[in-house]
């Protein structure tokens, strides 16, 4: 009986594992196959990899999408971490009842559905377009700005600051460091693991973001990888090999980070409940 249960468990988990992994294997294999072969259900590696990549990079403008996505994700990650950690640190270290109240109000913004603020944001950036063109609709700055300040990261860093030894702040003051100096020279280096976890999540969110870039980035030379994949996928005569190549490239950064830094990755994902 016990043995039977064991076997059933293994069979069940194996099916779950196969279902979870199969789409990954399929996209890797399909990346090397011709479109026709893919539609006919070929599941073996082929020899069309180079051709698929050539089409992707020369005819579909993957380079532009890669560059845009990278610029947006790197800047977003940097600013998200900076602003989020400054605030999380500020709320925890300089704690006052007033700030706690503000903090609770900020947390409410996590409940706001993006669809509800999308139109006003679009109109906001539309209004800016005329006066400050480099911040308006169809600029990378507009794609970045509304995404860099989120209550999630403020909360995340505040929770993590609770584990930061306050004595270090006092030690820094005694040392004659300014308050900002304490933050940059003591807090930041000691909290490296928290920053790593946050960076992974911020980068991933930005790299994969779809709806806001779809709304705000309109011209082809501004498009990001998710926009490109969506456009390719919606085409009437899709070249499956090329699309699969694009999907593999889009998935690669997050997959690599996941395999190299599993602990930080999971810690980041769960950051909202830790502490």
């Amino acid at each position: 009986m016990r043995k039977l249960q064991r076997i059933a468990t293994y069979i069940f988990l194996s099916i779950a594992a196969i279902v979870s992994i199969f789409p990954f294997l399929w996209m890797l294999v399909s990346m090397t196959n011709k479109s026709v072969d893919i539609t006919q259900g070929r599941l073996l590696p082929g020899t069309h990899l180079f051709e698929n990549l050539t089409v992707l990079f020369q005819q579909v403008d993957m380079v532009t999408a890669l560059v845009n996505s990278t610029i947006i994700a790197v800047i977003t990650t940097f600013l998200t971490l900076l602003i989020g950690s400054l605030a999380g640190y500020g709320f925890e270290i300089y704690r006052t009842p007033g700030k706690d109240r503000i903090f609770n109000i900020l947390l409410l913004s996590m409940m706001i559905p993006f669809a509800a603020i999308m139109i006003p944001l679009y109109r906001l950036f539309g209004g800016i377009s005329a006066t400050i063109p480099f911040l308006g609709i169809d600029t990378l700055a507009a794609a970045i700005l509304p995404t860099i300040i989120t209550a999630f990261f403020i909360f995340f860093f505040r929770q993590n600051t609770k584990m930061f030894a306050r004595d270090l702040v006092e030690a820094g003051r005694i040392d004659g460091l300014s308050e900002l100096g304490i933050f940059f020279r003591i807090y930041l280096p000691t909290m490296k693991t928290s920053y790593a976890a946050a960076a992974i999540i911020a980068f991933m969110n930005s790299w994969n973001n779809f709806l806001w870039p779809l709304v705000v980035l309109q011209s082809p030379e501004k498009q990001t990888i998710p926009l490109l994949i969506s456009k390719l996928g919606a085409g009437y005569t899709p070249d499956f090999g090329v699309i699969m190549s694009a999907i593999v490239i889009a998935t690669l950064p997050t997959a690599i980070v996941f395999f190299l830094m599993q602990k930080h990755f999971v810690a980041g994902m769960m950051g909202s409940v830790k502490g």
């Binding site: 400054l86 500020g90 906001l124 005694i174 990888i225 409940v273």
Partner: protein
């Protein structure tokens, strides 16, 4: 991320001068730290929320808007597309979230068994879908579930069906495809929350239950579920908020079709604003329906599950 405070010893304690400024200056600088974040959240979250509320009482094409009172809200009730979008979204919510949470709980209980072989591999495999972007996996699912896609080939090979199923063009099957896709993407994500919570459950409780002759199922319902209640509540709220806003998958797997059979509220808002002749006022009204649903459902879930916290 808990190893932040190991190197206390490396800070040199050479006392230069004692800061004469006391609480006032520190308080002042404290506000400086949070200033950008507070301003940003007001500008990019709260201000748009107010704007959307004002918009929801206006109507007109593009930039020509005028106040129409409650007309938009009344229009909701007689708008078949909105009713379809609302119904679909609620179906996703009521079917997908419970199925996923039960599945994730089940996986986590199985994987929490230390005597299980290949535990790490199974955990990794089931978590893996989380690394894909929503657009990427949506496009993959669209092809997998196409008429001549691999899912149909597989079903025909196993003689489960003799003819290919119209996964994407049958109203019911299209909804099912969306539900399968979301479940594939998010089950592992929920599982890791439960797995980490299970680490904190006292093993002796299970030992005691076994001695008392409790079956595995009884242990699950009388120990595991009650112990994990707070985290189940948390994940169900997160999933509810996420599902109410579902957009990427709908747009990329079915584009709302066939007809409006898979259209979600977010997708309808997008269409109203950017696909049809833009009607920002009415789109804002529809968006407030999501806001109201998020608040209501979160409150209900807290009420239902929150009594022991």
């Amino acid at each position: 991320m808990g190893k932040a405070m190991n190197n206390t010893g490396s800070i040199p304690y050479t006392v230069k001068k004692k800061r004469k400024s006391g609480g006032l200056k520190k308080n002042y600088i404290g506000w400086f730290f949070i200033l950008i974040a507070v301003a940003g959240i007001c500008l990019f979250y709260f201000y748009p929320m107010v704007q959307a509320l004002l918009l929801s009482f206006q109507s007109g094409m593009g930039a020509n808007l005028e106040y129409v009172g409650l007309d938009n809200y009344i229009r909701l009730f007689s708008d078949p597309t909105f009713i379809a979008a609302l119904t679909n979204t609620m179906i996703y919510l009521l079917v997908q979230v419970p199925v996923m949470i039960v599945l994730a709980l089940f996986f986590s209980v199985l994987l929490n068994d230390a005597t299980l072989k290949f535990r790490g591999f199974f955990r990794l495999a089931i978590f893996l879908p989380c690394v894909t972007s929503l657009v990427a996996y949506a496009v993959i699912f669209k092809y997998l579930f196409g008429v001549d896609g691999l899912v149909n080939r597989f079903l025909i090979d196993l003689s489960i069906t003799s003819e290919p199923l119209n996964w994407l063009s049958d109203p019911l099957l299209a909804k099912l495809t969306i539900i399968i896709a979301i479940t594939w993407r998010w089950t592992g994500y929920n599982m890791i929350f439960y797995l980490s919570a299970l680490q904190n459950v006292d093993k002796s409780m299970y030992e005691a239950a076994k001695i008392d002759g409790a079956s595995a199922l009884q242990q699950f319902f009388y120990i595991t579920v009650p112990m994990l209640k707070p985290i189940i509540l948390f994940t169900s709220i997160i999933s509810t908020i996420g599902t109410l806003q579902i957009f990427d998958e709908i747009m990329n797997i079915t584009n709302g079709g066939p007809g409006n059979a898979t259209l979600s509220i977010s997708m309808y808002i997008y269409n109203l604003s950017f696909e049809y002749t833009p009607d920002f006022g009415y789109a804002a009204t529809v968006s407030y329906v999501i806001v109201i649903l998020v608040v209501l459902l979160s409150l209900i879930q807290f009420k239902v599950a929150g009594d022991n916290k």
